[in-house]
């Protein structure tokens, strides 16, 4: 999902940066407020960030014959709410952009938008919907993390198709092309991310049942996966 440095025209790069900026402010506020109210959650925030660090460093092979990586932001979105994952995603993306030349500073806004904004918000929305339909917790966690991951890659495909419409087929033809590269590659990886998130939530509900009660999303209803 990393759009490479310089690979978005200046207007798009600036637009996505402006679009992502307010979410960063909101996210930082949301995290600092939460830690002030419940300092004991610091450890779990660390776990959520660490999960995203690990998963976004693992490039996994996929059925399309290319490699991509999960994002790991779904877990944190379920624990701390989607806004809290924006600063976490920013740290991951900055590390990769500055040290690894993976992604970039001009595309940071666009990448942040797909990975740390669309992904977590879709994950939280899917989770809420699943719980409202009274689906089992494990199923909701899986669907949330999996679809959040896919949504990130779909967003990248849309961003690129918007910036580079096909000369013949326009936006749609481009979207099909970039969607084939990103979204289809991502399907098995998104399933893996969903499964791993369920695994961590299983461990959390066994070891951190007290802390989970205070969580905005996972704390609702019984906590058993």
């Amino acid at each position: 999902m990393h759009i490479m440095e310089g690979f978005l025209p200046p207007a798009h790069a600036l637009g996505w940066t402006l679009a992502a900026a307010p979410f960063v402010v909101w996210g930082v506020k949301s995290i600092s407020r939460r830690l002030k109210e419940q300092p004991e959650q610091r450890m779990l925030l660390g776990v959520a960030a660490a999960f995203s660090f690990v998963l976004s460093a693992l490039k996994l092979p996929s059925v399309t014959g290319s490699c991509s990586h999960p994002t790991g932001v779904g877990l944190g979105a379920l624990l701390f709410g989607p806004a809290a994952m924006v600063p976490v995603g920013l740290v991951v993306l900055l590390f990769q952009a500055l040290l690894l030349a993976h992604g970039g500073l001009t595309t940071l806004g666009a990448n942040l938008f797909s990975m740390a904004i669309v992904g977590p918000f879709v994950a939280a929305g899917v989770f809420r919907l699943g719980r409202r339909l009274a689906l089992p917790l494990a199923g909701c966690v899986f669907a949330a993390a999996c679809l959040g991951d896919l949504a990130t890659y779909l967003t990248t495909a849309i961003q690129l198709a918007w910036a580079f419409p096909d000369p013949a087929g326009g936006f749609v033809a481009s979207l099909v092309k970039f969607g084939g590269i990103f979204a289809i590659t991502q399907i098995p990886l998104a399933i893996s991310e969903g499964l791993l998130t369920v695994l961590v939530v299983n461990a959390l509900s066994r070891f951190n049942a007290e802390e989970l009660k205070g969580m905005p999303l996972l704390g609702q209803g019984e906590v058993r996966a």
């Binding site: 450890m43 660490a50 092979p61 690129l160």
Partner: protein, 117 residues
Amino acid sequence: MKRQNWLILAAVVLLTVLPLWLVPKPDKGPDGQAGEAFGGADSKAQQAIGKIAPDYKPWFSPLMEPASNEIASLLFALQAAVGAGVIGYWLGASVTRDRLRRKNELPQVVERDKRAD
């Protein structure tokens, strides 16, 4: 619960390993060398941009690039290691806390058992 966790882990491993078998080897290029399999989706997208807009020139380049692929994999490994370290610390601390809690509860359980006898 335990069984479910193992099944999940097995499924993740299968999902990761199966593509390595399932995907056919890429066709040989004009130079007779086999094309690169399992390249990054990011660089595939970069190539696709090159096809759609051949005139597009990236207008900014990374401030710093890893000196080689080895250095890049070092940094990726570092990123994963930092994350895994934090998760490992949390799991270790949690398991120990859980065990101590159980140990403190145990005497009462034993007493209750004796009474039941």
